[in-house]
Amino acid sequence: MILLIRIQEKVDDNISKEMELKGYQRKDGRKGIRNVILVAYLVECAHHVASEIARPFRDDHVQVIGFGGCYPNTYAAKVMKQLCTHPNVGGVLLVSLGCESFNRRKLAEAIDESGRPVKTLVIQNSGGTSKTIASGQEWIQQTVMSLKKTKQVKLSVEDLIIGTICGGSDATSGIAANPSVGLAFDKFVENNSTVIFEETGEMIGCFEDIINRAETPLLAEELQKALNKAARYYTVMGYGSFAPGNADGGLTTIEEKSLGAYAKSGSAMISGLIKPGDLPNKPGLFLMDIVPDGEPRFGFPNINDNVEITELIASGCHIILFTTGRGSVVGSAISPVIKICGNPDTYKRMSDDMDINAGKVISSNATLEEVSQEIYSKVLQTASGIPTASERLGHQESVITYKTFEPIGPNCLVG
C-alpha cells in the first residue's frame, strides 16, 4: 500500500550538490532568495496610492502589502515589521494617509535598523494622491537600481525556512498532495532545514498523535493547550474550518479534513511551537499556533488562505508549499508559493496555475515518494530564482488582519 509508506532514507544529496544556490545577503545576517521592494500601505485609505506607485514596476519585483485597519493592533504591527524585514525583502516604501494610528515611525526605524533602505510618504503631507505617487515612483526607481548591487552569497538547504498550508482542499489533498508534502518535509528536516506547519484549527481528531511527537514533555503540554484553544475557538464561532467546496470534493467532516491536513507535517519530531511573526530558533519542524489568545473576538482566526500564508512568511518562510484539490490560484507577495495539486482532474483543468501534479499518485502509478522528490527539487529550483506558476502569473496576495496574541511560553521553544 503506497499511501502509508514512510521512507526514511537519507535524501539524495545530488540534487543540492548539482544546484549551486545563491542568496541575497542582508545586513542583519539573514539570507533571501528574492530581492523584493515592498510598497506597504498602513491603512486601506493609502492602498490605492501604494498600488499606483508600484504599477509601472511589476516586472522589477516591486510588490504591495498592507494593513487595512485604522485602529492599532500589536499583532498586525508585529507581522508588518516581520514582513518588511523579511530576508526576501531588499527595501521598503511606507505609504501612510496620515491620520491612521499605525506607528509608522517605529516601523520605519525597525526597517532602517535592519539595514534596508526605507522611506515613508504621508499622503496628507505630500500634496495628495498624484504628488505622492510621483515621489513614490521616483524613490522606487532609485531603489530598484541600488538593489541590483545586493551582495549574493552561497545559500544552502540549511538556510531555508519552508512553510506549508492547504487551501481549496478536497479528499485528494489528504491522499496525494498532503502526504507528499509530509515526505518532503521529512527530507528537509533530515537536511537541517526549518519547516513550519500550522492550521491548528484543522487538527481536530489528531491531538494524541501530535502530542506524542513533541520533542519534550513540556512542549507536549504547550501543544495540547494550543490545540484545545483552537477546538474551543472554532466551537464558539459555530463553524469548523470547513467550506462547502470541501464537501463537494468528498470530505464530510472536520476530522476527516484534519487527518488529511495533518499529513503535511510528515513524521519528524515537533521541535517547537511558535505564533505568527516568531522566528524558529533552530532547524527542525515547528507548529505555528494561529488561533488568537483570550476570548474569541475579531471573528474567525484566519478569514482566508492568504492570511495563513502571510503569517508563515512573517515567521521567516522563504517558500510556501500550498496543496490544493479544488484548485486554488493564489500566490503571495514576498515569498514564492509552490502549488501542489492532488486532484488529477483539477490539474488538467488548471495546469497553468500548478507547479506539481501530485494527482498522478491517483491517476497513474506514481508513488508519494516520487512526488515528494519532485517537491524537494522544485523547492531548490525556486530557491535558485526560477519563478513558480503563481509568480509567473503575477500573483502577490497578502492579507493582515486583527488578532490578539500573548507571547509564547518558555517551554514552546526547546534549546
Binding site: G174, G240, F242, P244, A247
Partner: protein, 96 residues
C-alpha cells in the same frame, strides 16, 4: 488490501473506500468478488462503504475515526453528509 483502479482503501481497518475515478449510475464496483451497482453519480475522492455500517458506528478512514453513521449504511453505498456526521463540529453546507 483490496484496491482496484476504481478506489483505494487507505488502511486495513477502514470501513470506507475512496474513489479514484468518477463513477456514474449503472457502473459496477467490484470488491471481494462482489459487485456493487452504483445508484448515484459519485466523483473521485468521495467515500464508499466497504461493508455494512450500523447507525452510530464510527466511520474509519486512514485508520482514524472521521465521524459517526447517522443511519444504517449498506456496503457499496456512498458515505457522505446524508448518512454520517462529525463527532466534533457540525458540517455546514451552502444551504444550511
Amino acid at each position: 488490501m483490496e484496491n482496484s483502479n476504481q478506489f483505494i482503501k487507505l488502511s486495513d481497518n477502514d470501513n470506507v473506500f475512496v474513489l479514484t475515478k468518477n463513477v456514474d449510475v449503472g457502473d459496477t464496483l467490484t470488491y471481494n468478488g462482489e459487485n456493487y451497482r452504483v445508484t448515484t453519480p459519485i466523483t473521485l475522492g468521495h467515500k464508499i462503504a466497504a461493508r455494512a455500517i450500523a447507525k452510530g458506528e464510527k466511520i474509519i478512514k486512514f485508520n482514524m475515526s472521521i465521524g459517526s453513521a447517522t443511519q444504517d449504511i449498506m456496503a457499496g453505498e456512498h458515505v457522505h453528509l446524508h448518512n454520517m456526521k462529525s463527532d466534533f463540529i457540525d458540517t455546514h453546507t451552502r444551504e444550511s
